[in-house]
Amino acid sequence: MTKPALAQIHWDDVAAGFELPVVSMEVTYKVCILHVGAGWDYMPGHHNPDYARAQGQPTVFVNTLFHQSFVDRVVTDWAGPLTFVNRRRIAMKGSICAGDRIEGRGVVKRVYASDDGDGRVDLDIVVRNQTMDCCIAECTVTLPRRRG
């Protein structure tokens, strides 16, 4: 099996103000359906365009888990696979719909140590589609500290 080479960022090397690389994704109708099948959330607004329109949405839209998971990707695609997500708050201001292209942008807000000496980083993340900012998020993660 191929091993994705996601390098690990260490807490010691992170500074407030750093802007993360942008993470983008084409949210096709197929992607929406894949996520319903994978995440088990069959609320029809996520897979049935007629129901989504009756709900007041333009077409099927992704659920909360998609927003959460994409926010996590914005952080871990940069920070690496040894990252632990301690806290994440998201506000879904706009729907992400089938046909959207989304981009996630993060910025480091604060670098500090927890009471237990863990290396913590606070980040702000915004996920936008071609029209608007859809998801506004705050995230706190633990990164490994360099030894010595």
Partner: protein
């Protein structure tokens, strides 16, 4: 456009009940006044239908196009996490019931759908998670959901309804608190429902 509006009986005290809920969530249709009496209540603890498992983790990461080797590489996960772990973003998946079971599918156990309110359209607004432990392959998770607040009726661009705030505690089979989730959910009726 109305969806499946049922015949009404003039002697029926529920004659003006909303159209049958088609969300699949078995929304409990009722009044705001009834909902207020539910504040502070918890639902019975609900358990996941399946163990946390690697195939579902990989299918989910495939859907999200997430290449994190913690979720794909068993050796990497064993070395760095003590075993295979699931992405935190899919935590709720583990307690969503299967859509069909031989002994009858269970309904979604969440305060936002069970509390009586007029709204028959659901949409999530905001959610906050605190994670305390990784979710591991082999875990069976459970959730206990508590109702914190119901807003007064509000109208947004989607429709008119109520914002529901809940707090859910997720535990594993060892009774350890894995995560806590504070969620705000909007249950509404669109203009075409009336």
């Amino acid at each position: 456009m109305s969806i499946n509006r049922q015949e009404t009986d003039m002697n029926d005290p529920h004659a003006n009940a909303s159209p049958r809920d088609e969300s699949g969530l078995n929304l409990n249709i009722g009044t705001y006044e009834e909902a207020l009496t539910w504040i502070g209540r918890s639902l019975d603890t609900a358990f996941g239908d399946v163990e946390v498992n690697a195939p579902m983790i990989q299918y989910y990461c495939s859907a999200m196009q997430d290449a994190n080797p913690s979720y794909w590489d068993r050796d990497f996960a064993a070395e760095h996490w003590g075993g295979q772990i699931a992405p935190p973003g899919m935590l709720q998946t583990w307690i969503i019931p299967l859509q069909w079971r031989p002994d009858g599918a269970r309904t979604v156990s969440a305060m936002a759908v069970k509390v009586p309110l007029p709204g028959d359209k659901p949409i999530n607004v905001s959610t906050e998670f605190e994670y305390f432990k990784p979710v591991r392959v082999g875990d069976i998770l459970n959730v206990t959901d508590r109702l914190i607040d119901i807003s007064a009726e509000k109208t947004t661009k989607l429709g008119t309804g109520h914002f529901i705030t809940t707090v859910a505690d997720y535990r594993n089979q060892r009774g350890e608190l894995v995560a806590t989730n504070t969620n705000v959910f909007f249950r509404y009726r669109t203009a075409s429902d009336d």
